[in-house]
Amino acid sequence: MNGDSPISIRNLSVLYGDHLALKDVSLDIPAKRITSIIGPSGCGKTTLLKSLNRLLDTDDGVRVRGQVLLDGEDIYAPRTEVTRIRRKMGLLSQRPQVLPMSIYDNVAYGPRIHGLRSRKELNERVERYLRLAGLWDEVEGRLREPASLLSVGQQQRLCLARGLAVEPEIILGDEPTSALDPQSSQNVERRLLELKRDYTVIVVTHILRQARRIADHIAFLYLGELVEQGPAAEVFAAPKDPRTRAYLTGEIS
């Protein structure tokens, strides 16, 4: 049933105290495509993204109803092991969040935590994923330097490499280019386009042009409601819902 959709969201509602942040959202994420979640700010895009790897758990007073099926398994089921869920997804946040350690250790952090001890394998992994994130050539000689010395654009690619190093199936991006200059943004976008060959990518964005450039699939959220979803070409060419049309033409933002 979920053959080509690693994540199925079923009737998901999220409450912050009394505030209903997500209303009954159902959505199938297509495998090895880029799905872009668009919508005005404050409409639940980040909440939806964080519900996928249970980062919402860290908020106080949050209640989640409904299901999120990851490879057919409900991640909100009581017996589900949350660290295993999170391991299947790499997260890129709005501003790059490098850990307070060296460039090498940032990438090796995940594998080490999950029990990889062999020096040789760690080296291999660090190199492989730094290459995949397009950062290897820039940092090859300075792996021992603190990651905080990198430029913001480099830091974001380092975060990408760090996420990839735990060998996830899915990449989550929460407006991953919003803190970057145009060139670094382009660089990150290009990486994401390459990565969709092997990974399922879900990106929250508030820049419509970015969604047009990279998305295969669109989900439009408005006031916590999933208004419309479908292949990007269709949604952009012929939106079915008047609210989507209004958003795409810039009448609501």
């Binding site: 660290t83 295993r84 999950h114």
Partner: protein, 291 residues
Amino acid sequence: MNALAANHLGRRKRTDLVFRVLAAASAVMVLLALLLILGTILWKSVPALSLSMLTRTPKGGFYLGREGGILNAIVGSVYLALGATALALLLSLPVVLYLNVYKGRTSKTAVWTRFFLDVLWGVPSIVIGAFGFVIMLALGLRASLLAGILTVALLEFPIMSRAIDEVMRLVPRELKDASASLGATRFETAVKVLVRQTAPGILTGVLLAMGRGIGDAASVLFTAGFTDRVPGSLADPAATLPLAIFFQLGTPFPEVQERAYASAAILTLIILVISLAARAMNRKVNRHVVK
């Protein structure tokens, strides 16, 4: 391989649990320490606690376990704390207004002034007491209510200033500027807008400092003297509750030591009331100050 991974995950989760329990246990321990202290003091004080302790001054043999109460110390402490708090407020308000009106929050002067307030806060009260003693000798005073007030004011000053400063920093720049643009000079802005806006916060700071002042013994040891009488003027020596407790505990008579616990319970109660009042005020600030 899979079994190995599962084993590894199990160990990680156990470590997480161990530290969660350890951390929670530490927090509980801190809470228990407080409860244990309050409980012990209250429980020990019950046998000696009586109305006459509150309403009478020591009669001759009080420290031998005979007649009297600790009215002298209660009144002395209240006089001392009120005087010192008033004096400290007189010093604190200008400093804090200066920090928040004339200087932006990041100016160099402001950073240094706050730094020295913090340093001053860290000076041990016994050193403040010794310094108060030096001042007292320099001014030609004897150990008296006045000397005590001066010393305790010095102790309260940094505490009060920092507490009020924290509140005033919450007042948005625009509010200070809005008044200035109406033609008020900055001095008037300072006094009217800031003080009115933060009145409950100022009171919180005042109460906080007073709580510290009334409970401190080391600073008044040299300067306030000790007497069995209620002080009649600023030049008289004055007994204080913390010192009364200290002296009562120092006697070899069990009855008197019990009275020390009763005195400690009274002092704790006073502090409790003051700090509850400060908390209540603080809640008010959080509701009123425009953020």
